[in-house]
């Protein structure tokens, strides 16, 4: 099974590479994603009646039907996420600009879907780096959307070059306030941020319900909605209709760079990470743990707030009830998948964004509910969080050092 083991002294380069690779995180992540996708396929096949009908005919027919079903589902998901190659080819041959835009729209729509994930994932990842579990991204997204949309429709007479940054800043501010409260409570009273952020989520939902019905409601609408934001506050879209791709994606990329620089190239970031890896050592070294916690929660909230502002300023252009469903929990998953590293978060946000967008058209074309994406996310997350499961399935070697995907501050704070 392992031929190079007896003669360990004569390892060639490839064997050494494989040895290292099988111990590395990348293989685990890759296998976690593959395993999740395989199990998702099994689920799709197991919930399709045609497969059972085929199994009644013969075992092989059933097996074939199961593979075809799962395969079709994933092909539909892929074409939904990046567009169908034939359509793109035909569109470019025809030279019709609208046809081309339609054909490449799925790809850009996936990027649109990715953008809030990047912001929210960065928010959670930043918290993890400081040992904080920010479950409140969802509420912070809501608050960011509320303040962002308010700045978008209520502030008049600004040119876009000023109005857009102002509206985005308002969004960040809204999220930051919602992040500040749990951070402050944690340092002053020891109230654990997991519980307080969950509670803050629900307070944000109720608050937005009230605002949308009352103070911020569009008087011309019967259902609770805010007015449309002014054109000067809209994040510019780069292509014509139907492509909704807007510059928010580049703002998100900028944030990836900024968070990277902040965490790994500045003294502040170093202190924050120090608090995250060993709070007592950090305190002993003179780092102010309390203010680090508050700063981290404020920045985390601000990033999540940007996710909300980005959605209302770039995509919806107004705020409707329950506009963000599930970004909060998803962002925890993708921060973990990205190992709390800004680049990792970007990659996993791309994965989740393409998955979710692809699943939407998959639901229409092959009738597999979009919720399959949540199942995939949960499976992948479980395997990432418990690498021992993957190691057992694929008989991988144990890592040299103990792995801890996040080192969180103790529950008691």
């Amino acid at each position: 099974m392992n031929p190079e083991k007896p003669q360990a002294t004569k390892k060639n380069g490839l064997a050494i590479f494989w040895e290292e690779f099988s111990r590395s995180n990348f293989l685990i992540i890759f296998l976690a994603i593959v395993t999740g996708i395989i199990l998702g396929g099994v689920l799709v096949a197991a919930t399709t009646t045609e497969v059972y009908a085929a199994f009644k005919v013969s075992f092989w027919a059933g097996l074939k039907s199961a593979f075809v079903t799962a395969g079709n589902t994933y092909v539909a998901l892929l074409t939904g996420a990046i567009g169908s190659p034939e359509k793109i080819k035909l569109a470019f041959q025809s030279g019709d600009a609208l046809a081309i835009r339609r054909a490449i729209n799925p790809f850009f729509e996936s990027l649109v879907q990715t953008t809030p994930y990047v912001f929210a994932g960065l928010a959670v990842a930043l918290g993890f780096r400081v040992g904080l579990f920010n479950i409140g991204a969802e509420g912070q997204i809501f608050m960011g959307a509320i303040t962002g949309v308010w700045a978008g429709y209520a502030i008049h007479g600004l040119p876009p070059i000023i109005h857009i940054p102002v509206a985005l800043l308002f969004g960040a501010l809204g999220g930051a306030i919602w992040g500040f409260v749990p951070g402050f409570l944690k340092t002053k009273t020891g109230a654990h941020e997991v519980i307080t952020t969950i509670m803050m989520n629900y307070i944000a939902f109720r608050l937005s319900d009230w605002l949308l019905k009352g103070p911020m409601a569009d008087p011309n609408e019967y259902t609770p909605k805010t007015p449309w934001i002014l054109e000067s506050a809209q994040l510019p879209q780069l292509f014509g209709s139907p492509i909704r791709f807007h510059i928010g994606f580049f703002v998100a990329l900028l944030m990836v760079v900024l968070v990277y620089i902040f965490l790994f190239k500045t003294t502040w970031g170093f202190q924050l990470r120090m608090v995250g890896s060993n709070m007592n050592a950090a305190r002993y070294a003179g780092v102010k743990v309390a203010s680090s916690t508050i700063i981290a929660m404020v920045l985390s909230g601000a990033l999540a707030g940007l996710a909300g502002a980005n959605e209302v300023l770039g995509v919806n252009h107004r705020l409707i009830p329950a506009f963000s469903s599930g970004y909060g929990f998803d962002s925890i998953a993708l921060a973990l998948l990205g190992k709390s590293h800004p680049v990792g978060v970007l990659l996993s946000a791309l994965l989740f964004g393409f998955l979710r967008n692809g699943a939407r058209s998959m639901q229409l074309s092959v009738g597999v509910p979009i919720d399959i994406v949540s199942i995939l996310q949960a499976l992948i997350l479980a395997f990432i969080a418990a690498p021992a499961i993957i190691r057992t399935i694929y008989r991988l070697k144990q890592p040299k050092h103990t792995e801890d995907i996040v080192s969180l501050q103790s529950w008691k704070g």
């Binding site: 009273t189 519980i195 529950w411 008691k412």
Partner: protein
């Protein structure tokens, strides 16, 4: 906090005494604030001679009680006076161990004062309000009991929501297929227990952070139930899977004929009685049996428990699985006790309010039921907010449970007795 844990005796007790004094005074100030609020904002804010009319018979009840009609202002003044006396006593002497009971009394009086004020000049169906309160408290209290079982053994469970949701789904399907509600209930309980097994394996065996493990099962359960629901239960030709039926209302003979209280407490389906039963049972088990002592010791100091020969891992597995079953039972309430069908994400965050009720109730079954009733009351009131005489957005009433939990967690009123080893994986050495 570090100074507190040092062995030097005198400064410690002095520090603790100071802390206790500060809490006592804060609590007293809150009582006084309630008193002043009742007087200035409620009593003085009324038209002279305003009459409050409480209807004492819930809609559709056969036990009729006469309406309760009284002048609002004098009643409010009495309430304000009682609250003021309680506050003064609390500041000067303190109620000691009875503080929580007095706090509950203050809350009830204050809410009653609020209702009196908000109803003055009109009428409110008080009995209906309280009856709905009891019903709404059921999933919250049962969810909180699930949390208590897990956390008393040292495992944080933020997956109560998903255990409920899974159980609601499974019980719907099995009750529909078997045309038997009890089989549905049993299957739901087992499904909740199964989610508990997953949570236990992930967090105890693989030692994943318990919050992450809870997040995993939350996302998974939401995904799989929504997936299966939109694939089958919401489709026309699979409707036979989504017709579980409802547990009937039971009138307890004799007791349900008591005026006012009877229809509120003793005319419900089985879940209300089960809630009361489980609260009493769990209180007895936790505090009066060897089993409960062991469970709590594992949650407080697993190493000491291990040294004494208690199997920490087995105890935690058992507690988390039982907690899952309890949450599963709570989940079947949604499908078999309330709506008679399954809808996507029908638990709508109740699991998280259950978590809040657990904290608010100080990790104690009776306290959890008190918190469940309080939160249930605000839930019930927010539905009827538009019927009151004062404009009060129902959304703000809906916020109360969450705000109250944050206040309790922040230690403004008293200090929660969280199990000491809560959330920490145990490593055997």
């Amino acid at each position: 906090m570090t100074t507190l844990s040092k062995p030097a005796a005198t400064p410690v007790s002095k520090g603790i005494r100071n802390l206790e004094r500060r809490r006592r005074i804060i609590m007293g100030v809150i009582f006084l604030a309630a008193s002043l609020f009742t007087y200035f904002d409620f009593s003085l804010n009324l038209k002279p001679g305003a009459i409050t009319r409480f209807i004492m018979t819930p809609g559709g009840s056969s036990t009729i009680s006469p309406d309760w009609v009284f002048p609002a202002s004098p009643y409010l003044n009495v309430i304000a006076a009682v609250l003021g006396l309680l506050g003064a006593f609390q500041i000067v002497r303190g109620f000691g161990k009875r503080t929580y009971g007095i706090l509950a009394l203050v809350a009830v009086l204050f809410i009653f004062g609020f209702l009196t004020w908000a109803t003055a000049g009109g009428q409110t169906n008080l009995a209906g309000l309280l009856r709905v309160m009891v019903v709404r408290a059921v999933p919250l209290t049962l969810g909180a009991l699930s949390g208590i079982l897990c956390e008393r053994s040292g495992v944080v469970n933020i997956g109560i929501e998903c255990m409920m949701l899974t159980a609601a789904f499974v019980s719907t399907v099995f009750a529909s297929l078997s045309h038997n509600l009890w089989i549905g209930m049993l299957s739901g309980v087992l499904a909740g227990g199964f989610m508990g097994v997953i949570h236990a394996i992930l967090s105890i065996k693989y030692k994943i952070n318990q919050i992450i493990s809870g997040t995993v099962i939350n996302i998974f359960a939401t995904g799989i139930t929504s997936y299966l629901s939109s694939k089958f239960l919401q489709k026309v030709n699979y409707q036979f899977l989504n017709e579980p039926g409802l547990f009937p209302q039971i009138q307890v003979p004799g007791l349900s004929k008591i005026p006012f209280i009877g229809p509120i407490l003793f005319h419900h389906n089985i879940y209300v009685f089960a809630m009361i039963f489980f609260v009493l049972l769990l209180t007895f088990l936790l505090y009066k049996t060897r089993w409960g002592l062991r469970l709590r010791s594992v949650g407080e100091h697993p190493k000491a428990a291990d040294t004494l020969g208690i199997n920490v891992f087995r105890t935690r597995y058992m507690a988390v699985i039982l907690g899952g079953m309890m949450a599963g039972f709570a989940g079947t309430y949604f499908s078999l006790g309330s709506s008679g069908r399954f809808d996507e994400v029908m638990t709508a965050g109740r699991g998280f309010i259950g978590l809040a009720a657990m904290i608010f109730g100080n990790w104690n079954p009776v306290g959890a039921m008190g918190a469940g009733l309080l939160f249930g009351f605000f839930d019930s009131l927010s539905v009827k907010a538009s019927l009151l005489q004062v404009p009060l957005p129902s959304e703000f009433l809906g916020m109360v449970p969450y705000l109250a939990t944050i206040i309790v967690l922040a230690g403004v009123v008293g200090h929660g007795q969280m199990p000491a080893a809560d959330g920490e994986p145990y490593e055997k050495e």
